[in-house]
Symmetry: C2
Subunit: 375 residues, 2 copies
């Protein structure tokens, strides 16, 4: 049995003066932000796709703006959840913080539907920045681009977005979105703040980029150009698929401590360069998170095997360096073996919780924790 | 049996380049910040007391800087926990975000020792700000002071601290800490950022304060004076007790949506003014959280009853307005009845989790969820 909440698409309440909103689970993020347009507020979490907010909670989504505004984990105040036995609970209040009992909200955020069905979501909102600046910068080396992102965070600059597209990805995006970016390792940068604050942040990052071989720093004042470039960034998955018509993306999703990011990306770039699969890289590099899109023909077992081999190499390396197998895509069916590697005995605790809350294993059975024996 | 972790006080690892640290549970926050002094980093969560970091995790602590840097909830990356059956688990990695399975870290943060014993903590660190500015501002009315704090947050100003001391509290603090502050409703304000950024934030807030009847805006450049005032703020609990030697503070701890804060504070101030108990108010007003310190002689049942009456009035009002019975102090034994009021059916879910993880009820039995029948 599958459950479809997409028609539960009502925005139930907005309180601009409290910077919060309550929506039904099927509301999509673009719908919400259009609704908020006149309030001066917005909901920042941006995974690219126009996902439902219930789905974004269930998968603990994040994305391009998480480096500044946090992930779903930080931006959900409360949930309404239908439990396996039909009880309906409310997991929190509208207070911005609370020490009242177990954090049920964050237990359900990221549980991928295996503990209950999220039906309503109360979210934190943020004020639209007074000023926004956007820049694209091409670098001589992959290392220079990644080091610039890392340095920005280490310096405490509250950058709003810092996205890496490696040279392979820029080529794919140019082709798909009809752009003419230099086909080099590139950062897309966005700054939010006061007019002065944005200028100050941007000047510091530009200096850092120059130091790291980023000579080609281009500012964009025009809203239209900026939208076009972000749209191209968000269409990157399509751009990858278009490299091989009829094929699918197999996206990796590791996230590592910042200081190890350059090492992990250059390692897997070199490995992928030896592979017969196209493998563009893009990443939320300010968080230590990136994706390699392995473009595979799923009808050919040798391609699947090659994608699995590269992904296993990458995940093993990321875990060794203190990272996680998935920064934002979740476990689902595809990453269950790595969940075990990453959590060790913790996975038994997850199973105990699952069995206590859903003893008949009716909530998204088989996902995240694998087959469970109903009690 | 009680467990004392205070001698587990080793700092195990610091990675300045990753802005994180791992400590044993008995390390205290001042010890950690002294250790970090040369790195340019600090751990911001500041509940006033020099608490252990394990304890701060267990109670989901927050405090004066949470308005800018978040609470323990936002600043813990991973925990090592000893479970009731003796298994030891690690709840996360050093990655800044993850979508790998249930959020065990945040299940233990705030569980008050009832699900397991936290032995090690991996924390996020933050860069020390380039510039800091500090100001004290006295207001004509309680409403003016609270409205200024609320407006600051609504405008998106990243203020580092915004603490209210009502006139009763300022009088107590003056007496205890030998200060000469005007005995009016007062905000202590702190700004962190670049030199320009701090000046800009401070100018905006000063204008807002003036608009709300805050005519007495005093800047302090001197580190010594600033430390003396923050020390006085942190000693406020002692200042309250000193109002009636031999008595104890009965501290309330509600947290409400920002727009309701003025209503709640002025409501309970008026009620307390009719009471025979001294009742100074201080608060982390940027988060919607405040404390009223009812100074009671615990040997006199009528005083306990009066404190309970005022606290019940306040909590009932806060819950009505979408708030929580405890912003940061936790449930313990004293707030169990309100946990039930606040969470409804959610409390049954908490009991289910407790019984699944600690079937023999040996972990801090009786706290938070009350007496439970061992399975």
């Amino acid at each position: 049995i599958s459950v479809d909440l997409s028609r539960m698409d009502a925005i139930l309440r907005v309180s601009p003066e409290d910077l919060d909103v309550t929506v039904q689970a099927g509301v999509r993020r673009k719908q919400l932000n259009e609704y908020l347009r006149d309030t001066g507020l917005f909901f920042p979490v941006d995974p690219g796709a126009d996902a439902t907010l219930g789905g974004m909670c269930a998968t603990r989504a994040s994305g391009t703006t998480t480096v500044r505004y946090g992930a779903m984990r930080e931006n959900v105040l409360a949930l309404t959840v239908v439990l396996a036995d039909g009880r309906v609970i409310r997991t929190g209040t509208r207070a911005r913080k609370s020490a009242a009992g177990y954090d049920l909200t964050r237990l359900f955020v990221g549980s991928e539907g295996t503990l209950g069905i999220i039906t309503e979501v109360t979210l934190r909102l943020h004020g639209r920045p007074e000023a926004t600046a956007f820049a694209v910068c091409a670098f001589d080396s992959l290392k220079g681009a990644v080091d610039t992102a890392i340095g920005t965070i280490q310096m405490g600059i509250p950058i709003a977005r810092v996205e890496l597209l490696d040279d392979v990805m820029v080529a794919a995006v140019n082709r798909y979105s009809k752009l003419e970016l230099p086909e080099k390792n590139t950062l897309f940068l966005e700054f939010h703040g006061s007019i002065q604050g944005v200028a100050e942040q941007a000047a510091t990052v530009q200096e850092l980029a120059l130091h790291n071989g980023g000579n080609d720093f281009r500012w964009s004042d025009r809203e239209e150009e900026r939208s076009r470039l972000w749209q191209a960034r968000h269409d990157a998955a399509y751009a990858c698929k278009a490299l091989r018509p009829g094929c699918e993306n197999w996206a990796t999703d590791v996230c590592v401590p910042l200081s190890r990011l350059t090492e992990v990306i250059t390692f897997i770039r070199a490995e992928a360069d030896q592979s017969f699969l196209p493998a563009p890289i893009l990443g939320h590099v300010g968080d230590g998170n990136f994706h390699m899109a392995l473009v595979v023909d799923r009808s050919r077992p040798e391609e699947i095997a090659e994608a699995e081999r590269l992904n296993r190499l990458l995940v093993t390396k990321a875990l060794e360096l203190g990272g996680t197998c998935t920064g934002e895509h979740g476990i689902g069916l595809g990453k269950m073996e790595f969940l075990e590697l990453e959590h060790g005995a913790g996975i038994e605790l997850m199973r105990t919780i699952k069995q206590a809350l859903d003893p008949h294993n009716i909530m998204n059975p088989g996902k995240l924790l694998g087959p469970l024996t109903p009690l």
